[in-house]
């Protein structure tokens, strides 16, 4: 017997309920973060638990506890701490 969350997500995603994993549900094209949040609210699950695949980016951004917080003015902090411009090959290609 599938639980309510699995049934609901399966309906949203248009897949069989048995294709929804137990611990991480999968978002599909056309499912907004708001949809997933509503499911989360109704079921008591955390939205990030429900978000994967195509919804990953929106899910990550919304995980911040205070999304209205803007980047503070850090002046030359990063340069002073030894940060250099660009991206090392290891972080792009590995």
């Amino acid at each position: 017997m599938e639980d309510d969350l699995t049934q609901e997500l399966a309906t949203i995603l248009g897949v069989r309920p048995d294709m929804i994993a137990r611990d991480v549900a999968f978002a599909e094209q056309g499912i907004s973060a708001a949809d997933v949040r509503q499911v989360a609210l109704r079921t008591g699950r955390k939205a990030p638990e429900l978000i994967w695949g195509g919804m990953t980016i929106a899910g990550l951004a919304e995980c911040f506890t205070n999304p209205d917080t803007r980047e503070p003015d850090t002046g030359n902090l990063f340069a002073e701490m030894g940060f250099v411009p660009g991206l090392p090959d290891a972080m792009y290609y590995e």
């Binding site: 994993a21 137990r22 995980c63 701490m81 940060f83 972080m91």
Partner: protein
């Protein structure tokens, strides 16, 4: 780049990175010994995409379109790394750290394999000797310092530093992607898909599909193909890219853009289902979840055969204006 985009969205008022690139490609890195388990359930061969951008072009587009700059620092000393993380956390500055996903306790493949990955650091965790990290699958999690140290040492054993990355933005920059860049991406996709080698394009997809069908006849255990998950992400990205195209560029290509959107949406769903089948088979330890794989792959291949012509038609229409 998901971590960069998350910071850009939440802290730097960039709503998305949709205009960075368009890509339809396949890359098959097949083990010389043939398809087999490397460390079950992970296979010894990867099937993935081939991105159209080398690093310099990627950074240039990030800066040109969104005013985003990246900076980094390499660490040779773990204590210095932790001290800097504390300093950023005290000022509520998100930084990105490389961290192998498979060092995450609770991951089904934890300890089995290695993978390049990035996470956002939130400073010390609530539990002793943990770091608070934000990761796409796990959300906010508490990563044991011992796992972080293990990842740090793994990179040091590879003979290189361990990196942190900072994302910043010049808010005045918000340019459209140029037509030559778009045409170059479309050409790269056509070249990849039409390649006649077995490690690229539709030829690679055909060989991979055949290998998977043979493999399913030999084994009865769940498996996952390294890199496979990137394909559904690529097609999702393509849909966003098409939606974000400057209308002045696509005025004469409405029919071709619509046809491509339909193709990408259909294929996205199938690549999603293919990946879901593998993930579900592993997470539930249920080999039956893979039963539909051969039929799905055959259906996808039949549709993918039309993709190069659709891209060529779109390219021609955009070029013509």
């Amino acid at each position: 780049m998901g971590s960069c985009e998350a910071i850009a969205r939440s802290r730097l008022e960039v709503p998305n990175f949709n205009r960075l690139f368009y890509n339809c490609s396949f890359a098959y890195n097949r083990a010389a010994s043939g398809l087999d388990f490397a460390a079950a359930p992970v296979l010894n061969s990867s099937f993935s995409r081939s991105l159209p951008l080398e690093k310099p072009e990627f950074l240039q587009r990030l800066s040109h379109c969104y005013g985003i700059s990246l900076s980094h620092k390499g660490y040779d000393d773990f204590e210095t790394l932790l001290a800097d993380i504390d300093r950023f956390a005290a000022q509520d500055i998100p930084v990105i750290s490389e961290i192998d996903l498979f060092f995450m306790p609770g991951h089904p493949f934890c300890g089995n394999t290695r993978d390049g990955h990035m996470m956002i650091l939130g400073g010390k965790g609530h539990a002793p000797d943990t770091l608070s990290v934000l990761e796409a699958v796990f959300g906010w999690s508490e990563l044991p310092l011992a796992s972080y140290l293990a990842c740090f040492e793994d990179r040091r054993h590879r003979g290189r530093p361990f990196y942190l990355m900072h994302v910043s933005r010049d808010a005045a920059i918000d340019n459209a992607l140029s037509l030559p860049s778009i045409l170059a991406d479309l050409s790269a996709s056509i070249d990849n898909l039409n390649s006649d080698t077995n490690d690229k394009g539709l030829s690679a997809l055909k060989v991979f599909s055949s290998d998977i069908v043979d493999f399913l006849k030999r084994v009865d255990a769940p498996f996952i193909v390294p890199g496979f998950w990137t394909l559904m992400c690529t097609y999702k990205n393509n849909l966003r890219f098409l939606a974000a195209l400057d209308p002045s560029l696509t005025a004469g290509a409405h029919k071709e853009v619509t046809a491509m959107q339909r193709q990408m949406a259909w294929l996205y769903k199938r690549w999603f289902l293919l990946n879901l089948s593998m993930e579900t088979s592993v997470s539930d330890d249920d080999f039956k979840a893979l039963a539909e794989l051969p039929q799905l792959l055959a259906t996808v291949f039949a549709c993918e055969e039309q993709t190069p012509d659709l891209i060529a038609a779109l390219r021609h229409a955009l070029e013509k204006g």
